[in-house]
Amino acid sequence: MNSGQRHAPMPTTTTRFFRTFVPWQLIKFISINLKMIRMIRRSH
């Protein structure tokens, strides 16, 4: 393990749970798509 690995922040159990919690990720799916569309519109 290098020094970066020793000092890297680690996600909490709650954070890891929500990454694959389907109801929360469905909300994230909509939110991320909206953010991407907003950025795409700025670029086009």
Partner: protein, 484 residues
């Protein structure tokens, strides 16, 4: 009647060809010249590379699409450009060597009124002895390479199932590589698949990169607002690797790849060795090696192309130190300055300089990423140039459209494991791609449009993008409504 020739049928070239055909009446010819007769949705090659997709899932045969769209197709490799014509032909033309099975090697002259060079990269495995599928390491740059990588990866998995420990070394195979994001995705997918195959405890996974810090991705990293702080992408990338037990080696220039070992130099000038049982190391890129000649047949390649083989466009190529780099150095129209009817888009255009800070090792070796030209900006360049050419052909008085990387954003989704319910991906946007410190201060980017998140939603988005862009590549109904 105009002839518009597009060299290359990748993300930039195929997009350009489709938009040209959409805008131009049939009397104007759109001709695509490409060595392969398939379009490859490259972002999904990493999934082919771990065996969760097959090659047929990521390719689209071009002939049926081009036939339906009334686009002429020459299966060949562009080898020469004659922008002034020649003694035997008054008008400008390209020379292509055919690569289709029946006429391999035959030369064909293709005249043009407008030329779009979207020829992409040459995968320069030769830059590092032993690098590449013909050497001792795998690649995921093409679907064919990715299939071979998957076979080798699954053989490793079988060895681990039988009780052997294996070292997986993944990253970039030269100090000047780009595409660190792809290597980042691949190492996370390898780690995920090792867990899915229940052999993770038998594997040591090491990431080797030319980035001074992981999370640089060749764009100098990015900053995100999170939890009341502005946080560097380095923190998130290191956290993800630490969480997954992936070791990392940064600031590395791989000098040689042997059967079970790489030799690499780090920024402090020291040389190290690392053994492996499986290695996937991306190569550095150069231009594909097109040569240019004037009317008298004199070689003018160095006037039209940078030393790295990429075509010069409307960028500021003045050599200047990092502290003097500006957003305005980057091209807006992708037009060759000498021959205004020639454009270069996607990976084929010559960047003015990298985006990440250039670094030399203590012994003078360059160890820093080349600038990436990812899918979204490349496709936007293709569309913008196609529309500008169409305006010229149709004599439409429309101000030329622009697509500077310093004025464009990018949306990237980096897979961290492919599964509908347990897989995740990091969804990122950054605006602009090339940081503009004059407009946006210390971070160089607009933090309102720069964000990142990791979760299953990202994986669903990446899968959605896969199917959407395959649909678009097939030019199915309303394909043009799908944004690049």
């Amino acid at each position: 009647m105009a002839n518009i020739v597009v060299l290359g049928a990748g993300i930039a070239g195929h997009t350009a060809a489709l938009f040209l055909r959409r805008r131009l009446p049939k009397e104007h010819q759109v001709i695509v010249v490409s060595p392969k007769d398939v379009y490859n949705w490259i972002p999904s090659n990493i999934w082919v590379g771990v065996g969760v997709m097959s090659a047929k899932d990521v390719v689209v045969p071009l002939q049926p699409v081009y036939q339906r769209m009334n686009i002429a197709f020459v299966q060949g490799r562009a080898v020469e450009i004659h922008p002034q014509g020649s003694a035997s032909r008054a008008s400008p033309y390209v020379v292509a060597e055919q690569t289709g099975s029946q006429r391999t090697g035959q030369r064909q002259e293709i005249p043009y009124d407008y030329l779009i060079n979207a020829s992409g990269p040459k995968l320069n495995f030769a830059a590092t002895p032993g690098l590449g599928p013909d050497g001792f390491s795998q690649s995921v740059c093409t679907f064919e390479h990715a299939e071979r990588a998957a076979t080798a990866f699954l053989q490793c998995v079988e060895r681990m199932r039988s009780g052997q420990s294996q070292t997986m070394l993944i990253g970039v195979g030269h100090g000047t590589c780009t595409c660190e994001g792809a290597a980042f995705e691949y190492v996370l997918n390898v780690e995920f698949e090792l867990r899915r195959h229940n052999v993770r405890d038998k594997a040591r996974v090491i990431y080797i990169t030319n980035e001074a810090e992981i999370g640089d991705f060749g764009v100098g990293g990015l900053h995100l607002k999170r939890g009341g702080y502005v946080v560097s992408s380095r923190i998130f990338a290191e956290s993800l690797f630490a969480e997954r037990g992936v070791e990392w080696i940064t600031g590395a220039h791989v000098k040689q790849v042997e059967a079970a070992r790489v030799t690499y130099e780090t920024l402090d000038g020291q040389t190290h060795e690392q053994g492996f049982d499986y290695a996937m190391l991306l190569p550095p890129f150069t231009g594909v090696g097109i040569k240019a000649f004037d009317r008298q047949g004199v070689d003018i390649t160095s006037e039209m192309f940078a030393p790295n083989g990429f075509m010069k466009v409307d960028a500021d190529y003045t050599k200047k130190p990092y502290a003097q780099w500006k957003a305005s150095d980057w091209p807006r129209f992708y037009q060759n300055p000498q021959y205004q009817n020639i454009y270069a888009v996607g990976i084929a255009f010559a960047p003015p300089h990298p985006i990440s800070e250039p670094r030399l090792s203590a012994s003078g070796t360059q160890i820093s990423p080349a600038p990436p030209r990812t899918g979204m900006p490349s496709a936007i360049m293709g569309r913008v140039v196609a529309n500008n050419i169409a305006d010229l052909v149709l004599n439409r008085q429309h101000p030329p459209r622009t697509a500077s990387l310093a004025e464009l954003g990018a949306a990237c989704v980096a897979s961290a494991g492919a599964n509908w319910f347990s897989g995740t991906a990091a969804s990122m946007t950054m605006y602009p791609v090339v940081p503009d410190f004059e407009r946006f201060g210390d971070y160089g980017r607009d933090l309102k449009f720069t964000f990142g998140d990791i979760g299953s939603a990202g994986h669903w988005i990446k899968k959605l993008l896969h199917y959407m862009f395959i649909y678009k590549a097939k030019a199915r109904p309303l394909w043009w409504m799908i944004p690049e």
